[in-house]
């Protein structure tokens, strides 16, 4: 029998496989990446997910529509409010309800505040991924101000559970408008500091420019949405394409960049924070009078059919696909979660870069693991 001599110089033999996660500082949760390296250069990444798979879609099949809200809170916990809004809009659309303007405006303001706080946390953790620990504290310090606003109005800080089918849980707090205005004033002063600390920094430029390029074709084909997709020039802002809530009555621009690298993903999010502040400023002074919630039947039953609602969360397009068989429980609920789709492009754009770039690219994609696992 001929014995095969192992070729130790082949690429496969030289691969250095390291296991990033599930407990790793830069995977932001329990994401496990099996990384094949050659020296410092990344050859292949294989994401292993499911460490916090809770079966939310299965759980939804046995609970009623208002109860789904508290589960969507826990998917993408950084844009909890927007997730809830998606479910509520879908239920309202199925019931063909008319939603008063006040609710729409409140929801929009809340969504934009959620987007800002999510981007703040992203900025904080992205800075930390790159080694600038101070960013983390500045980001969280400013995020605290929004969380306080949430706490005052919704009672929750992160998992707000504020939306419900037919409106919102409570009316806005009397202090709400004052506090939001204070925050906008404060944050307009602070945001340039973010730029001084990170965006303009020469080390940061070196670390992020040209790293992890995602072309427009790939962005569409992989379905990368949200700021990550828009950084590649993929016009995918649901707020523009399928306006929901009060987005059809305000003037805002969709942030589009064309480079598609880590830096443009970064700058897209920074620009979105500015844009979100513009949106809030347009709405905060003219919240219409009216009820904060429409009276609903005690048991909500959706007519038989299929309903799809898309919303723009802080990380991309969230789709809620409900199939109803006329019961009080949905027959099937599918969440098209943005992070799940954005993760699929990770391997594609990281090949050939170094470990440090892997961390930077992972940070710029802004993955939230519970949303991937659901």
């Amino acid at each position: 029998m001929e014995e095969k001599v192992k070729d130790i110089t082949s690429d496969e033999q030289q691969e250095y496989v390291i296991n990033m996660g599930p407990q790793h500082p830069s995977t932001h949760g329990v994401l496990r990446l099996v990384v094949s390296l050659k020296g410092e250069i990344v050859k292949n990444i294989e994401p292993h997910i499911g460490y916090i798979h809770r079966g939310i879609e299965k759980m939804c099949e046995s609970i009623t529509y208002p109860q789904i809200i508290h589960l969507t809170d826990r998917m993408d916990y950084l844009s909890a409010h927007i997730n809830n809004e998606a479910v509520c809009l879908n239920v309202e659309k199925a019931l063909e309800m008319d939603i008063p303007d006040r609710i729409k405006v409140i929801r929009t303001i809340m969504s934009e505040l959620t987007r800002i706080q999510s981007h703040q946390l992203w900025w904080a953790s992205f800075g930390m991924d790159l080694g600038g620990l101070t960013c983390f504290f500045y980001g969280l310090r400013d995020r605290e101000k929004i969380l306080d606003i949430f706490e005052e109005t919704c009672g929750g800080r992160m998992l707000v559970s504020y939306n419900c089918p037919g409106g919102v849980m409570y009316d806005i707090h009397p202090n709400f408008q004052k506090r939001v205005k204070e925050f906008i004033k404060y944050f307009r002063k602070i945001l340039p500091e973010y730029d001084q600390l990170l965006s303009g920094n020469v080390i940061f430029h070196e670390r992020s420019k040209g790293i992890g390029k995602l072309s427009l074709e790939d962005a569409i084909s992989y379905g990368v949405t949200g700021p990550s997709g828009r950084a590649s020039g993929f016009s995918c802002d649901v707020r523009k394409h399928e306006p929901y809530s009060a987005y059809d009555r305000i003037i805002f621009k969709e942030i589009l960049h064309t480079e598609g690298d880590t830096f443009s993903r970064y700058i897209t999010r920074i620009d979105e924070m500015w844009e979100s502040m513009n949106i809030i400023e347009q709405l905060i002074d003219n919240i219409p009078e009216g009820p904060y919630s429409v009276k609903m039947k005690p048991v909500i039953k959706l007519p038989e059919g299929e309903y799809y609602q898309r919303v723009e969360t802080a990380r991309g397009e969230l789709g809620v696909y409900i199939i109803s068989d006329g019961n009080k429980n949905p027959y099937r609920v599918k969440f098209r979660s943005p992070n799940f789709v954005n993760l699929s492009v990770f391997n594609h754009i990281t090949k050939g870069f170094k470990i440090a770039d892997l961390v930077a690219i992972g940070g710029s994609l802004d993955l939230v693991i519970p949303d991937i696992d659901r």
């Binding site: 109860q67 508290h70 310090r141 706490e151 001084q196 020469v202």
Partner: protein, 159 residues
């Protein structure tokens, strides 16, 4: 020559951008008034939570040890996690009629996700959120609470 100028320009601009970053951190270093840390356990006395803060579900009782819970069980139906369990009993009222009332309103804090559906759907507003947030206990069994106080009764006029 141009490349040398570019080289030097690159260095100077780079250093300038670094200095701008140092200005931010440095300015905070010399302004201790901007510190946001709260010394939590020692500021307990003047730590006020917002009135809507969802700490835990409680059943407010008045000074006569009366609550508003009729034992209808709507909160139990609405709870997505099975946090609430209403154990009812039948009592005989003063005018001799049989009536349903609660024996125990059990609330499992460890399972609660603070979705506020029970508080919102309660027809007689018997439930409310308290602002208490220090829930840590040494034994998990302590997280199962009975919300109605012993010997409490239904408030007059609540159906």
């Amino acid at each position: 020559m141009r490349s040398i100028i570019n080289y030097l320009k690159e260095i100077i601009l780079g250093v300038w951008s670094l200095l701008k970053g140092m200005k931010v951190t440095g300015s905070y270093f010399f302004r201790p008034s901007t510190i946001v840390t709260q010394k939590y356990p020692s500021n307990r006395k003047d730590l006020v939570m917002f009135e809507r803060f969802k700490g835990e579900v409680v059943m407010p009782h008045n000074e006569k040890n009366e609550h508003k819970c009729t034992g209808c069980g709507i909160c139990e139906l609405n709870c997505p996690n099975g946090t609430i369990e209403v154990i009812s009993k039948t009592i005989i009222t003063e005018d001799g009629k049989k009536k349903r009332a609660i024996d125990k309103h059990i609330y499992r804090l460890g399972m609660c996700t603070f979705c506020a559906l029970c508080v919102k759907t309660c027809p007689s507003n018997a439930l409310a959120f308290s602002q208490k947030f220090e829930h840590a206990v040494f034994n998990r069994a302590h997280l199962i609470k009975t919300l109605n106080k012993p010997g409490s009764q239904l408030m007059k006029g609540v159906e």
